[in-house]
Point group: C2
Chain length 226, copies 2
């Protein structure tokens, strides 16, 4: 019996955030067939001697110039037929980045790399729509028992940015006062002296995450129902 030839790939769902625009996803435009010219998740084949994480980070940087510092395995998609030409099993990861940290460029397999608002996505190649939906569900679930935000917001941010982030991810209104009360109770934020004023209205204090507490919650989880 000969060895099955199954190719192993990784794909990355990278979320970015902007308080004004909401949540975006990083996509590339494919340079080669299949789906030439179509939009897809960044990703590619795993090399024989590299770890899966390394493969995602490498492909992501090659194709888009983005380096994520937070990356987590999402799910493995392996249905025969998901790639029209060969059997390819893809281990999908998802990551969070501060959009403003990067200038996108496209290279290797990508003709273009762009952020798309997660409500206005183009048609996607392969089963990447499924992957993306799985990632969105995961992000929505995650937010309830692990902090997100540090990876998506600037180092210093007004509280309203964090509040809007949660409203965006959960896609529902969240009472401003109760949210603040609950979040501050976690004792994960440091309030700075600085204030910032964006447009009209009273300026708000800037906050930053307490890295240590943040990592602790990330590791041990918490309960954050809202």
């Amino acid at each position: 019996m000969s060895l099955p030839t199954i190719r192993l790939a990784v794909d990355a769902v990278v979320f970015g955030y902007d308080p004004k625009e909401g949540i975006s996803v990083l996509l590339i435009q494919r340079k080669y067939d299949p789906f030439k010219g179509g939009w897809a998740l960044p990703g590619g084949l795993v090399n024989e001697d590299e770890s899966l994480e390394h493969a995602v980070e490498r492909e992501l940087e090659e194709e888009t110039g983005v380096k994520v510092d937070y990356l987590e395995q999402l799910y493995t998609f392996g249905n025969p037929g998901r790639d029209p030409r060969n059997r390819v099993v893809a281990v999908a990861y998802y990551g969070l980045v501060k959009k403003s940290d990067f200038i996108l460029y496209a290279a290797t397999d990508a003709d273009d790399a762009k952020w798309f608002h997660w409500d206005e996505l183009p048609e996607l190649a392969f089963d990447h729509k499924d992957i993306l939906e799985t990632a969105i569900k995961r992000l929505r679930g995650k937010i309830r028992y692990e902090p997100i935000g540090f990876e998506l917001l600037d180092d210093k941010f007004p509280f309203s940015d964090l509040h809007k982030l949660y409203e965006n991810v959960l896609d529902k209104e969240v009472d401003r006062r109760n949210f603040k009360k609950k979040f501050l109770q976690l004792d994960i934020l440091t309030e700075l002296e600085e204030k910032v004023s964006e447009g009209p209205g009273r300026p708000g204090s800037l906050f930053k995450f307490n890295q240590e507490k943040y990592d602790k919650f990330k590791k041990e989880g918490f309960n954050f129902e809202i």
Copy 2:
């Protein structure tokens, strides 16, 4: 550049339950090298034209005779070096079964197949210890936002079996009365007329799961903090 040769395998962490003995894990004794004679999770290479789920179910039945009806993808383990001979990436699944439904037998790659109490596990081959620990964590997390039990208990069971199951999985005492109150509120159980007496003490009613509600919670999740 030649195609990397990465082999793709699946491994299964199958949990079984017995109110008297607690939670067990199904392991096989390896017939061939590497780790010949050692204990390992059931599993094996994926065929070129079968889905990952199919591969797990096939390997599991071949090696142990167990057919799971509930199986969920756990995590993909892909570190180079996890298999001493080749690069093998393993997609791990975990499943829940009623132990009493099966008579184990060992075949193909397995010399023996046995249930081990999850507190008294032998040394495991490859990185299977990591896989198992990941599965245990997942099971403990799962119990809080999805029902488990239907897959682990007999069709009809006294309430105390369910209670013990939760105590076993969570590895802590849970107040009997509060647990019952909360669980019955979910309206997921049907109380039967039948009563059963196991040893001394007042006989208890038998319950069964309301399949429809169960599937709904399984799909949509709930919040069950205890």
